[in-house]
Subunit: 167 residues, 2 copies
Amino acid sequence: MARKTFEVRMLDEIQDIYDVEKRLLKALPRMAEAATSDVLREAFEEHLTETKRQIARLEKAFQLLETPARGKKCAAMAGLVEEGGKLIRDKNEMDSAVFDAALIAAAQKVEHYEIATYGTLATWAEMLGFEEVGDLFEESLAEEKGADDKLTSIALKINVLAQASTE
Amino acid sequence: MARKTFEVRMLDEIQDIYDVEKRLLKALPRMAEAATSDVLREAFEEHLTETKRQIARLEKAFQLLETPARGKKCAAMAGLVEEGGKLIRDKNEMDSAVFDAALIAAAQKVEHYEIATYGTLATWAEMLGFEEVGDLFEESLAEEKGADDKLTSIALKINVLAQASTE
């Protein structure tokens, strides 16, 4: 009975991140299309490929946990996507480098949401003895950290352009 | 004109995190009250003190930027608070250590949202030549990272209890 509560809580968190990844799957092509710099567009396209892999890993995790794969609406991610959509609609109001800088900021919020969630899940899965499931989360966690670092390095270049546009 | 867009975008982000901190100011006492372990309750209480300092820093930043201090609803944070509230209402459905583990997971999502935002803001403020403002964001960024690390170390202990409750 008590065992059930920790597992149920873990499944709840997996359903949350599954919803997040599915929303991101739809949002990333729009972000890639909106990006004005090639390097940023390519980074979003690459992260789309990673997101597909992460979804496959989650489906594998559901399978290993003998639970049907389904998401549960993540209100925070819905909020992030809403803010990203508004930013894209406002694109014409700002310099292109400033827009890219803001798009990176929005994307890094999503990355950090995922880093927090996969970090929790990797630990919980291992604690609960689901080592193979934990390994899947560790892989996605490493990818998310890599994606965040990549965005930071792109931001360094784009911020210089954004700043130059202000002079 | 172009200068305005990057600054406007930065102010927009400051208004976002100001809203986040204000929401957290209300949520943290509820989280502290709900926490079942003393060490977690104390961590939330300590973070409440930090949150008050961070709000004061944001108000100082608004002042330095000669802009009235006001927040702009952050939909993502509203979502996180909503999820945290639901978790607290469901407290009785789970073992106390499992509840604390889930509360930490929810809090770390907030910390990561703030880490992403203060990281962006610190860089932008420095790029735009607002060094003193940038320093304020760097201080809050360091505090948020510290709070996240502290929650991770508390989680390690609580997860052992949560796991023990499942055997």
